[in-house]
């Protein structure tokens, strides 16, 4: 994964993690798709993608050596 791709994934992950916001706020934005539980699971995956991307950006040499 290149640095640019990792940066994109970090942004996407952080946006998805916004689904952790209170259900009422999410619904008021018109994004109340599915149950709160399901949205939190999508947010969790987003958070995970963001964390791994951040790790990749912080330790580029480790990622390069693993190839």
């Amino acid at each position: 994964m290149s640095t640019k791709t990792a940066l994109w994934f970090l942004i996407i992950g952080v946006i998805l993690a916004l689904l952790f916001l209170p259900p009422k706020l999410i619904i008021s934005w018109g994004l109340g798709i599915g149950r709160h539980n399901d949205r939190v699971l999508v947010g969790t995956i987003g958070l995970l993608v963001a964390v791994v991307s951040a790790y990749r950006l912080l330790r580029p040499t480790l990622a390069e050596n693993s190839k």
């Binding site: 539980n37 699971l41 969790t44 958070l47 791994v52 790790y55 480790l62 693993s66």
Partner: protein
């Protein structure tokens, strides 16, 4: 798909299965219920954590520590935020922050065992690690099968087991079979299919003879599960 490395996938699966095996055994010993929904979310989060980190950052001590902290921490975050819609009378296990450390320890051990398996080829500890991982994976698959098929209720729980000894039997049978196989039959991809078949059949037959299989189909499914657990362990090394 070139990006979907077979070994990375097997490594991630075996680490996740072993971690969940440790965790479910702990819950059984603690006499707390293990719900299917709870296990499913934990399995998904831990698997994705291991897979993404191994796929992007590779395997190693540092990656193992990061994985052991990240996976349980993100699962804990899910657990806290999903609270408005989770039935807290059923899902109250992981409100205790101690479980975060416990999950991290289980994941760390599972990661260490799996990583060591590929690093210490030819050493005495390798067959033991392989047997331990295969037996933990087999017990997790068995418990998953029990929750989804044998007790297909809305909220399945492992309390339906009459005693924990049944899971001990699955653990012991798989552990012994893999050790015997490692001692008398050199490992390798040529023998994998035959080993899978033998371990699966012997395991299914033992469980059936011990009176823990409800039907012939049940024995066949268990034989397949044992075979899958073994082949995943072999593929991750």
């Amino acid at each position: 798909m070139a990006w979907l490395n077979k070994q990375v996938l097997a490594f991630s699966l075996i680490v996740t299965l072993a971690m969940n095996g440790f965790d479910m055994l702990f819950h059984l010993l603690e006499d707390t219920a293990v719900h299917l929904g709870y296990v499913a979310v934990k399995f998904t989060v831990i698997f994705l954590t291991v897979f993404l980190i191994v796929h992007i950052m590779g395997r190693g001590k540092e990656q193992g520590i990061v994985t052991s902290i990240t996976g349980p921490a993100i699962f804990y975050v899910y657990y806290r935020y999903a609270s408005p819609t989770l039935d807290r009378t059923l899902f109250k296990l992981d409100e205790n922050v101690t479980y975060l450390f416990l999950h991290a320890a289980f994941l760390g051990i599972a990661y260490y065992l799996t990583h060591s398996l590929s690093q210490r080829e030819g050493t005495m500890s390798q067959p033991i690690f392989k047997a331990l991982l295969a037996s933990l994976a087999a017990s997790t698959l068995e418990m998953g099968y029990h929750m989804t098929v044998l007790t297909p209720t809305l909220v399945s729980e492992l309390k339906v087991f009459e005693s924990v000894s049944y899971i001990y039997l699955v653990l012991a049978v798989t552990f012994a079979l893999v050790l015997v196989k490692e001692a008398f039959w050199s490992s390798g991809w040529i023998h994998l299919g035959a080993s899978m078949l033998l371990i699966g059949l012997a395991g299914g037959l033992t469980l059936w003879m011990a009176g823990w299989s409800f039907s012939l189909l049940d024995s066949v499914v268990r034989a397949i599960l044992l075979g899958i657990a073994y082949s995943l362990t072999e593929a991750s090394a």
